[in-house]
Symmetry: C2
Subunit: 729 residues, 2 copies
């Protein structure tokens, strides 16, 4: 790949038949080397033969709706819990789909409800015996006999999914009217696999101009229940959950391999399902492993077909990405050539840039060229400001790209929407230059980073590196911390409790961060009751390691404390059960502290910050407090240091606070000065082989800053809003 031009290449343009002039003009202006189609747009011959490389989107499981309609029992499914219903007498009738979007689901009674479904009295937690309920196929309702008055009942049931969710979203968002609803087929059935491969073969033959098949994505969409539009449009949306892989045929196949059959309740979990915030159970891990193996196996056969036609296979790291697990062990076996994700932020950028085993990593920028953005922004509608949107996202993305490069950027959607936004067209041209310049600096070089390695400890570990369960989970401490880390000059890793159970804390890790809320997968929940976890972390910190807890680190009601690492952190949280206990008043901070050196005045640790934080004894050093609750504390434990932060929100000031906290915990304060900026709204990266220093302004105002160099000298600069300066040093 030629990575030296600043005006051409590394750019994917969404073309649009009917707007050929615009397509080719913008391809020229934005320096696009590739033109793609999108869901809802086609490329015309004039575009596909224009000399640009062609990416063609292909969604294998919704590609042939005629076949899907002819095989209604081969559709994808899911396991659902009905809305809870209160019994007002001994007979309760439940419409399982009540409250759900009936255009998305059709109850599956083909697989015997008595075998597959479960009915629960949620007031007692007991399952209702199969003999006490019946499904009426005519009315599509479940009737429970002998119900206990005022108890709440739910039905776990299976549904076919009769509208593929991504096209459903695009259809509804763009008001596609009576355009046919596409349906997702279930590749777990051998005949579906055969059909998909046959269809792929035909498709490949029919797309001679296509160089890259842009799979969007593999087979299973992330979990997305829609609601009855009259009641509630959306019910749940979890980018990381495998709920849409669940079906009786899949369960049967799982049972053959793993020797046990999960029940519906293993997927429903009293309405929690297996959402990404839940600490994954052993059974759910097995299920994910099973699906990952299947997606890898059948996916590889699809990729091989694509390669056989001399084309490349790129995968979209979204939509039907479930089972792909690009950061997992099996991903390399798929043989994919590239990965693409639609992203808004720094952490998502790192998720793509860090994906192993692919030759090409591409970011699809936002706003998506739809009237309304995925995040609800009125991007190209009256009142929208697509240029400002794009700039705002780019600031965060650029921070991450300073640290780790990707190969390409691009857009998707309806190109014609940009036609009357000349400022957007001009800004994207400039953004393309910035991107290409950054990419060139990474060529044969790595940006300077301190020899400090941070390991984020969660129940997911590397499996959810640089991601939680969607784009930006605002208020999720793990997500907020990740976003700040995505642009810092240090090394970041992700470890899980299972990793620690297997091999302890890796020796090269300088600082472990546990950031989350009580009981969630990011904090760790029930893992904290396992003694070996406590032993390993205590041993690690005592031996000189650093530990940073954010929010409710290690929180779990167990033993004599709530934060299970409270003896290391020196703080714990009052939950309301020990209010009779009188807590130590804080001593005022003795002197200005390294961690707070750039933090003037009151800290803003975000709306999710927790209160009621008390210190165990005087060995805890309270650096900041509010209303009697500690906010920033430090402590030593043996040879190591710990830091506690009662909340976290990604802001320039907090990024600096976190940066300093990490270096303090790592006992690496002397390493902090090199390539630091005096102004927290600016950041820099140094590329030693190129001898180039890049300084960025992360905000909308002009900023002055002074960059300290490695030798101790410094450079003063003024940088324009959203600006970018390259200095030879």
């Amino acid at each position: 790949m030629d990575n030296t031009s600043l005006t051409h290449g590394g750019f994917t343009l969404p073309g649009e038949a009917g707007f050929e002039d615009l397509t080719l003009e913008l391809a020229q202006r934005w320096g696009a080397d590739v033109i793609r189609d999108s869901d809802g747009t086609q490329l015309s011959d004039r575009i596909t033969t224009s000399g640009h490389e062609i990416y063609s989107t292909l969604c294998l499981i919704r590609a042939d709706n005629e076949w899907a309609k002819a095989h209604p029992d081969k559709l994808q499914q899911c396991c659902m819990m009905s809305q809870p219903v209160i019994a007002d007498g001994p007979t309760v009738t439940i419409d399982p789909l009540d409250g759900y979007f009936r255009q998305q689901f059709r109850v599956n009674a083909d697989d015997d409800p008595k075998e597959w479904w479960q009915v629960f009295d949620r007031t007692t937690g007991e399952e209702v015996p199969v003999s006490d309920w019946a499904y009426d196929p005519a009315r599509q309702t479940v009737t429970i006999r002998g119900a206990r008055t005022w108890h709440t009942y739910t039905v776990n049931f299976f549904s076919y999914r009769i509208w593929e969710e991504i096209s459903m979203y695009n259809h509804v968002t763009n008001d596609w009217g009576d355009r046919e609803h596409l349906m997702p087929i279930e590749p777990m059935h051998p005949e579906v696999q055969e059909h998909i491969l046959g269809h792929l073969e035909t498709w490949l033959r029919e797309h001679p101009h296509t160089r890259v098949v842009r799979l969007t994505s593999m087979f299973y969409n992330f979990w997305w229940f829609w609601g009855d539009p009259q009641k509630q449009r959306f019910i749940v949306n979890d980018w990381g959950s495998y709920e849409f892989t669940v079906s009786p045929p899949a369960i049967r196949s799982f049972e053959e391999r793993y020797g046990y059959r999960p029940r519906s309740e293993d997927f429903v979990n009293a309405g929690l399902y297996n959402n990404s915030y839940k600490v994954p159970s052993r059974k759910y891990r097995d299920w994910m492993d099973f699906i990952n193996a299947f997606v890898t196996g059948f996916g590889r056969r699809c990729v091989e077909r694509i390669h056989a036609h001399g084309k490349q296979a790129f995968v979209f790291y979204n939509d039907h990405w479930i089972g792909l697990e690009p950061w997992g062990e099996r991903f390399k076996d798929l043989g994919l050539d590239g990965i693409i994700d639609g992203i808004f932020s720094g952490f998502e950028t790192r998720k793509v840039s860090g994906t192993p085993h692919v030759a090409v990593r591409e970011l699809r920028l936002h706003p998506y060229l739809f009237p309304t953005g995925v995040n609800g922004a009125p991007s190209f509608l009256p009142g929208g400001n697509p240029t400002l949107e794009c700039k705002t996202y780019w600031l965060d993305i650029r921070r991450a790209l300073l640290r780790e490069p990707v190969d390409r950027i691009g857009f998707g959607g309806y190109l014609h929407l940009v036609a009357n936004h000349p400022d957007f067209i001009a800004y994207v041209e400039q953004l393309g230059h910035e991107f290409r310049l950054l990419r060139s600096l990474h060529q044969d070089d790595k940006p300077w980073a301190a020899d400090v390695t941070v390991a984020l400890l969660t129940a997911w570990g590397r499996q959810r590196a640089w991601g939680c369960c969607g784009h930006y989970n605002h208020g999720n401490f793990y997500n907020e911390v990740m976003e700040s880390l995505s642009g810092l000059p240090l090394h970041v890793e992700f470890i899980s409790f299972e990793d620690i159970l297997a091999q302890g804390v890796p020796r090269h890790v300088s600082v472990v961060i546990n950031a989350g809320g009580a009981g969630d997968a990011w904090s760790g929940g029930e893992y904290w009751a396992q003694a070996p976890i406590i032993e390993a972390l205590s041993e690690y910190v005592h031996g000189g390691g650093g530990l940073i807890g954010v929010g409710e680190p290690s929180a779990f009601r167990h033993g004599t404390q709530y934060f299970q690492l409270s003896r290391l952190l020196g703080v714990d949280r009052e939950l309301g059960l020990t209010r009779a206990f009188q807590r130590l008043a804080f001593a005022p901070p003795r002197a200005p502290h390294f961690i707070l050196e750039d933090a003037p005045g009151e800290l803003a640790l975000g709306p999710a910050e927790v209160g009621g934080i008390y210190v165990l004894d005087r060995d805890t050093n309270v650096l900041a407090a509010r209303s009697g609750s500690a906010r920033v504390t430090t402590r030593t434990f043996g040879g190591g240091r710990t830091v506690y932060l009662s909340g976290y929100q990604h802001t320039p000031l907090n990024t600096r606070l976190l940066h300093r906290a990490i270096f303090f915990a790592a006992q690496a304060e002397p390493l902090f000065a090199a390539y630091s900026c005096s102004n927290v709204r600016t950041e820099c990266a140094y590329y030693p082989r190129h001898r180039k220093l890049v300084v960025v302004n992360n905000g909308a105002e002009p900023e002055e800053t002074r960059v300290t160099l490695a030798g101790g000298g410094s450079i003063a600069l003024r940088i324009a809003p959203y600006g970018f300066t390259v200095v030879d040093v």
Copy 2:
């Protein structure tokens, strides 16, 4: 009793030998009919023969320190948990008293530690086998062998209490220097009982002028662990907890009666102990019952001696009140003549005024005549303002006295401290007039109250009526709600979950209020997993009852919800595990609502208000919300109404909000207008037989208000700061 004089009677003055002139002058000025002594003061002959009735304080368990010193094994005890210690190798040595106040405790190794103590690995939750640890009496330490490195260990052990806590507090507060430390003796021993009765007999003979023996109080103090003064002065203070009744002899006696022996861990509960916020276990209820029976039985013998000498026995509803349970079944058996409490607020006033089976109910007002107040106020020190303190408390007390009378008021402490506070002397004189006027209005009359009965539902029920675990538990929703209720013109009851399990919700209750935090005794914790509780409350509301939930009502992780009454309340709370679920946006309130009619602008529901409150569906009417979290909602369930408040703090505006919420939930809006004040900083009470309307100003500013009368007419008034107006109507 003559209750008609406004200038004399119903007033107890603390006399002080050495200040006879002041004593007699203030007795005259304040209209005192009774003079008392206090801890630290004596009455001289001139005082005791001055023609006033004499109250004499007597604390039976610390009355004879020579005997206590001669019987060191007959001291009171308690069961304690050592501070947690982390093992840094296979041998851990724990000093059980480390961190505790060594002048308060002496380790009891007389009762074999191997039999009575327990050692726990708190990291695993497992008990360490008795064979793996040993107590060294010489070093007074426990050594654990074969400890697991980095695990946390604690020792449950028994201590003698070698400094009676109330005299310790008075000693330390007043700097009594080398005055001897009094020690509490354990009346569970027959020889201690014999000694106490003998001593009492002598004392009674030696106090011919005493008309009332003011027992302070019976035998067991509330739970009060002090800490190592170098580390932390106070560790825990719980006015309601029975931890100071625990000792091996008591446990042996319990075992004989109840057939099982509680272990140390039943009292320690991993450091939670049996504090008042913890939902009481069956074992703890048994223990309380056992102690209550003992205190009643032996207490009755003491009271009988007092009566035999022609004296009356009053008890102090504080200090050593544990086991007395004045609102319980056995209290009448004690034969006490009067009860006295030192109080600050309205709810405490109602606790005293509502105590059954005594002829005299007396309030000891604050500030206590000590340099420093119990609440830390510098009352009589430079910078203190005892008059303002007294006025402020009186406003809250007076609200309660409008509703229910007491017979007497008074003060305690060193009288000489008031000598150079002429404004205080003048204010107390005026306060005495107000008190006597209010008392006279209750004579042969009851203030008008709407036919609305509120039942506060907690795990304690009537046992902690008008009290939690100390004076004012600020931020405790139950306490805050109680304080507001203490002055409202309606009927208040207290019910427990056990009451509901036994007999459902009483039919005459108009509105049940559940106000508390997740898992605590006020909200109800694990009781909410019991189906009969849900059934009874659902049945009650469905049949027309009202329900108000405050904070985290019915919160318990169980089934498909967090608030177990969420289907009734229509709201639930996001705990962070279901963030993937998308919640219904609130519809704006349709029209001004009855509940909020007097609430202009933003509500202030207190710092403990909870967030993350979402509505289940559109049938929940959101009246107020902030940052996407519902704050005030209403809903119907069958024939009943529910109201949810996300927080509560006793303020004039919130008192009105609560008042309205109760009448709304009771479907009694038409009853609201009668005897309501237009200005929320004023309140009134109407005494129908006297045909007197009392209107009070609850604040420090002059206020104008209009009182609506029962017939619909109204009266406009202007009331002075802290003022009080009586109108004939």
